[in-house]
């Protein structure tokens, strides 16, 4: 009865877990592009092989541990321990079995190695078609994203949310000004480290439109766990429209509250770290806020972009991401409300 109850409990827990719908989750097996599909394929090749090998090894071990020695094997019993008879034919047989086991293991590992190399090769081979180049800079605890253009003032600069067109490969140029980070969007591509002093590239393609969450995958400091990134894959025309809209400078708000908010922003410490194009704020220490309201999250995927969250974030970022490189700013509630109204206006 006892073991039965336990088994039922475990089965129920497993079923419950399988039932979780991981909305917006990072799932390398939920492949949405050729790169991640190849990685998932590798997993589905290796998992059953490893599982079968494991079952065989464990079964043989249990059998060996549990079996009774036959009388013929045991020559004598010394002080309670059985001493195995020296049987020539038997030991030759054993050598052959062990050698066969070693050879089979080597062959299996070699086949998996070939499969692994082939996937690695396919992932790194640069696409020959038209690509979308994107620069991604990993900062301590957020992602800076740039879409370079041959015309310098057509460069789009944004943060934490990377829009890409579906069906076209994107080539990411990865770099870091501080410590090592790693770019990883499991549903689209494998990991690639961002190394200070180097520029490395990574390319991938998304085939289905959707929002894919990613995460910094190399410990980079206190708020490493809250360094998320969203990749928004959309139809080419939606992407083009988004990109065109991002080129606009910020407009001056028409309502007086937001106008006051703009004055608050420009009159206090925010301008030391943030840029809003079309205003005097042009610092690059923190994320560019020109189109902040067009992003769905703030603080590298930590909070939804809502009035309340912006208010909480600006009045005390250290409570939301302790150790983050943005200081708390003390403002009176009226100024805070105006500031939030202005930031929400930055569509």
């Amino acid at each position: 009865m006892r073991p039965l109850t336990r088994a039922v409990t475990i089965a129920a827990a497993a079923l419950a877990c399988a039932g979780c719908s991981l909305h917006n989750a990072q799932n390398a097996l939920d492949a949405s592009g050729p790169q991640s599909a190849r990685i998932a394929g590798l997993w589905w090749l290796m998992l059953p092989i490893a599982a079968v090998v494991w079952v065989i090894v464990i079964a043989v071990m249990l059998w060996g541990a549990g079996r009774k020695r036959s009388v013929r094997e045991v020559m004598e019993t010394r002080g309670g321990t059985e001493v195995v008879a020296n049987d020539e034919a038997r030991s030759r047989r054993m050598t052959r079995i062990v050698a066969a086991g070693a050879i089979v293991t080597a062959v299996i590992l070699f086949l998996m190695l070939i499969a692994d190399f082939r996937v690695g090769q396919a992932l790194t081979m640069a696409p020959s078609t038209k690509v979308v180049p994107i620069k991604v800079v990993g900062h301590q605890f957020w992602w800076e994203v740039q879409y370079p253009d041959s015309v310098p003032n057509k460069t789009v600069i944004t943060a934490n949310e990377i829009h890409i067109p579906i069906g076209t490969p994107v080539v990411m140029e990865l770099s870091s000004p501080d410590v090592i980070h790693s770019f990883w969007v499991p549903s689209l591509t494998g990991k690639k480290d961002l190394l200070p002093g180097y520029t490395r590239s990574l390319w991938f393609r998304a085939d289905t439109a959707g929002v894919y969450r990613g995460q910094c995958a190399e410990f980079c400091g206190l708020e490493h766990a809250k360094m998320g990134v969203l990749v928004i894959a959309q139809k080419q025309q939606d992407f083009d429209a988004w990109r065109a809209a991002q080129l606009d400078s910020a407009t001056t708000p028409s309502d007086s509250l937001a106008q006051h908010g703009k004055a608050v922003f420009l009159g206090t410490t925010c301008v030391m770290c943030h840029a809003i194009s079309g205003t005097s704020a042009g610092a690059t220490t923190g994320p560019n806020l020109t189109h902040l309201a067009s992003r769905s999250t703030i603080a590298a995927g930590t909070l939804q972009n809502t009035d309340a969250n912006l208010y909480a974030w600006i009045s005390d970022p250290q409570r939301i991401k302790p150790g983050v490189l943005m200081p708390a700013t003390k403002l009176d509630p009226r100024d805070m409300q105006a500031l939030v109204a202005y930031l929400r206006h930055l569509k």
């Binding site: 501080d178 009159g267 206090t268 410490t269 301008v271 030391m272 770290c273 610092a283 220490t285 009045s315 005390d316 250290q318 409570r319 490189l325 200081p327 708390a328 700013t329 003390k330």
Partner: protein, 191 residues
């Protein structure tokens, strides 16, 4: 008989001492939302060496490790390093040495940062809060070993050109006269 008494007594004594020692510890206060007073501009009668602004000798944050580390971070984030490097100086004067043009008291340095100085030091008053200014004051002073050694930062994230502040020996500050002429902008120091 004597030792039978002495042992428990000694043990009790040690416990009492440890408890007393622990009771003396106080956790450092971290204030994310402080509003320390802006240094009174009156204290800034040019080269006032004595601070009469009512601020303690090391400023409000001279002995606060958290504030010093914030100051260090802001020194880079606000791009003070662009002109002063990491203390060694460039277009602006070095800040890790004993020489001060405009005074070394916290109130003097506060005024330097808030109001700027004629030969090219910008005024930051309208762009950084009094709390951030005081954090910078504490950090700037720690670069030449002023303020509590225990609170000064122990590590630099940039390539180290000098030992971290906690290992810096305390310089004896001296006042120097500023150069009579404005340095021509063409003379560029290392960044």
């Amino acid at each position: 008989m004597c030792s039978r008494f002495a042992e428990p007594a000694a043990r009790a004594g040690i416990v009492v001492l440890v408890v007393l020692a622990l009771a003396a510890c106080s956790r450092e206060r971290r204030t994310f939302h402080d509003s320390p007073p802006a240094a009174s501009v009156a204290a800034e009668s040019a080269k006032a060496v004595r601070s009469d602004s009512g601020v303690s000798r090391d400023g409000p944050y001279g002995n606060n490790a958290w504030a010093l580390s914030q100051g260090k971070q802001l020194f880079s984030a606000f791009n003070c390093v662009g002109c002063h490097s990491h203390g060694g100086g460039g277009m602006g004067p070095p800040l890790m040495d004993s020489a001060w043009i405009y005074g070394f008291e916290p109130a003097n340095i506060y005024a330097t940062i808030a109001n700027g100085r004629p030969n090219g030091m910008p005024a930051f008053k309208s762009r950084i809060t009094p709390q951030q200014t005081w954090e910078l004051v504490a950090y700037v002073r720690s670069m030449s070993g002023q303020g509590s050694k225990a609170a000064r930062t122990n590590r630099s994230d940039e390539m180290e050109v000098r030992p971290a502040e906690a290992q810096t020996k305390t310089e004896k500050p001296v006042l120097v006269t500023p150069p009579p002429t404005v340095t021509p902008p063409a003379q560029e120091g290392h960044p």
